[in-house]
């Protein structure tokens, strides 16, 4: 038996595979298609203080080996999450990670306090980097703002904090370092790359929101590079790598680049069981290669 379990902050995951926030709903939607308990962790859609209706449609368009999305963080708000979604998730034996989004520090702190009190939530992923809402990127492009936000959150909760980084920056390491210095237990990367697409006959943007976030295999090389850069610079903070992971092969690239865990996002749209297939594939790879512990792979790439 190989060991597939990894640690992210105070959390122990039975395998390194999480779901990507916003690509797995609130878990309940997918609970018949796959066994949630077979996941390393279940990361739910970004939750905000008040309910949000999100952006007008069209919200997703297909691009080469990827999609652009501009959902705009549609969600039912924190009360709805705690009352309607969390009870279902508590029944499972899988770490629940709630992704938070707010306009200002106070929003995040409020959400963190509510979720800490609520019980049954194991970690918070801090979305400072959603490109699809106005000012959604203020924190992520500025190490100082990131530091302030995470410092405040660190005081507000003992839950494991995972700060989610944006790829739309010159220097992802500096933002990651600010989050780590402020007490984030882990970093997750990458969120989507800002992009657009145009309908040439209508001469209109194909997304109602004009721009959206690019995800899927198209962005994998960029995501993998950023994970490696951050791991080189900050080898002691666990990373959750994501961006274009479809297969166990993709996931193992991220582990080798320095990710302790990975998330499967857009791939779920094309294969409902992608996350657990990736987990099974990692285990198979370990067995085939005679590797006893998945932790041996983490950061093990050489030049």
């Amino acid at each position: 038996m190989v060991n597939t379990s990894v640690k992210i902050g105070k959390l122990t995951l039975r395998n390194p595979v999480m779901t990507g926030s916003g690509t797995f709903g609130f878990g309940s939607e997918m609970s018949e298609a796959l066994d949630l308990n077979a996941l390393g962790a279940c990361v739910v859609k970004s939750t905000s203080r008040e309910p949000r209706l999100g952006n007008p449609t069209p919200r997703i368009v297909e691009t080469s080996s990827g999609i652009l999305n501009a959902i705009g963080l549609q969600n039912g708000g924190i009360d709805n999450f705690i009352n309607e979604k969390l009870p279902f998730l508590r029944e499972y034996d899988v770490p629940i990670i709630v992704n938070l989004v707010g306009y200002e520090v106070a929003d995040y702190v409020y959400l963190a306090e509510r979720l800490t009190e609520a019980g049954g939530v194991h970690a918070l992923e801090i979305n400072i980097s959603c490109p699809n809402v106005k000012h959604g990127c203020d924190f992520a492009v500025d190490p100082k703002l990131t530091f302030e936000l995470i410092t405040a959150l660190r005081k507000a909760t003992d839950l494991t904090l995972i700060t989610k980084l944006s790829p739309n920056v010159t220097d992802v390491v500096s933002v990651g370092r600010a989050a780590a210095d402020a007490g984030s237990d882990a970093l997750s990367l990458i969120n989507t790359l800002l992009g657009t697409a145009i309908d040439i006959r209508k001469r209109k943007f194909r997304l109602a929101n004009v721009t959206g976030g690019l995800s899927g295999p198209a962005i994998k090389p960029v995501a993998l590079r950023m994970v490696w850069q951050v791991h080189q610079a900050l080898p002691n903070i666990p990373l959750v790598g994501m961006g274009g992971i479809v297969t166990a092969h993709d996931a193992i690239e991220f582990l080798l680049a320095g990710a302790t865990a990975i998330a499967v996002g857009t791939a779920t749209f094309i294969n409902p069981t992608a996350a657990i297939d990736v987990a099974a594939g990692i285990e198979k790879f370990l067995e085939e290669q005679g590797i006893e512990d998945v932790n041996e792979l983490i950061g093990a790439v050489t030049r």
């Binding site: 209706l53 919200r59 094309i270």
Partner: protein, 267 residues
């Protein structure tokens, strides 16, 4: 509602052109056949690579539960449908399904007449619905209206005749059946049916559904619409397929629909 849909790689049994650029692809998918109900759809992928990247939704057209076969009727418009058109018997096709949260809900009132109104690839799910209703009770009252711009674009007339349903055809240029639109035929049918219990089931291009919906609201007849919007995931997790409802809610077409009542949808 959670999706029980699974991914299946299944063999193609046949793939025949029925009218220009429209084909029926039948495959052996017993698990899907067992679960499929009218209004359900499948999310299809034709390749083993990432181009095209997303699956595309197709209504289930025919189901043969004994033989474990299902079929889809599709019109060739882009990469997925071009790929489907190339599939030969023995090739494999990759399906996720059956998908759909709220699907057609047959009117169970005593003596109810089921009025189907379809256009384009909106016709197949209504053919499926009609056959299911007839197999539950052969005496079911069904009226079927099919509309198209021109007679060469009319679908499923023979298939329906075989099932014992005489469809009323409307064409915009009068090349077959009644000249006009489906709503013209629908007014006639509803007038004929008078005050007896009636439900209209509609699937087709959005402007057609909008018109049918307006007419049904006007004459106060219950109407179920199978709404079409792009569906990247089909499983309720991506939030791309949202539909604004008259009550202010913004819901997912894939799992909260795709069938909505006329009046429910904010056009």
């Amino acid at each position: 509602m959670p999706v029980s849909a699974q991914q299946y790689l299944v063999p193609v049994i046949s793939n025949d052109e029925i009218i220009a650029d429209h084909r029926v692809l039948t495959c052996y998918a017993p698990e899907v056949a067992a679960l499929a109900r009218p209004g359900h759809f499948l999310n299809v992928s034709v390749g083993d690579g990432y181009d095209p990247f997303l699956r595309k939704p197709f209504s289930i057209y025919t189901v043969n539960r004994e033989r474990g076969e299902i079929s889809m009727l599709f019109s060739i418009v882009g990469a997925t449908t071009r790929g489907m058109a190339k599939k030969r018997a023995g090739d494999e096709i990759d399906l996720v399904g059956p998908l759909g949260g709220k699907i057609f809900q047959p009117d169970t009132r005593e003596g109810a007449t089921h009025v189907m109104v379809g256009g384009g690839y909106g016709v197949p799910p209504l053919v499926f619905l009609s056959k299911e209703l007839l197999s539950a009770a052969a005496s079911t009252n069904i009226e079927f209206i099919i509309g198209a711009r021109h007679k060469d674009l009319l679908l499923c007339e023979a298939e329906l005749a075989e099932a014992g349903v005489t469809a009323r055809m409307t064409t915009e240029d009068g090349s077959h059946g009644m000249r006009g639109r489906v709503t013209d035929a629908l007014r006639v049918v509803l007038a004929e049916l008078g005050a007896s219990p009636v439900t209209v089931y509609c699937c087709g291009p959005t402007p057609m559904m909008h018109a049918v919906s307006d007419l049904c609201l006007e004459v106060d007849v219950p109407c179920q619409l199978s709404v079409e919007v792009g569906m990247p995931c089909g499983m309720g997790v991506c939030m791309a397929c949202v539909v604004d409802l008259a009550d202010g809610r913004r819901v997912r077409c894939c799992t909260d629909g795709p069938v909505f009542a006329a009046g429910e949808v904010k056009w």
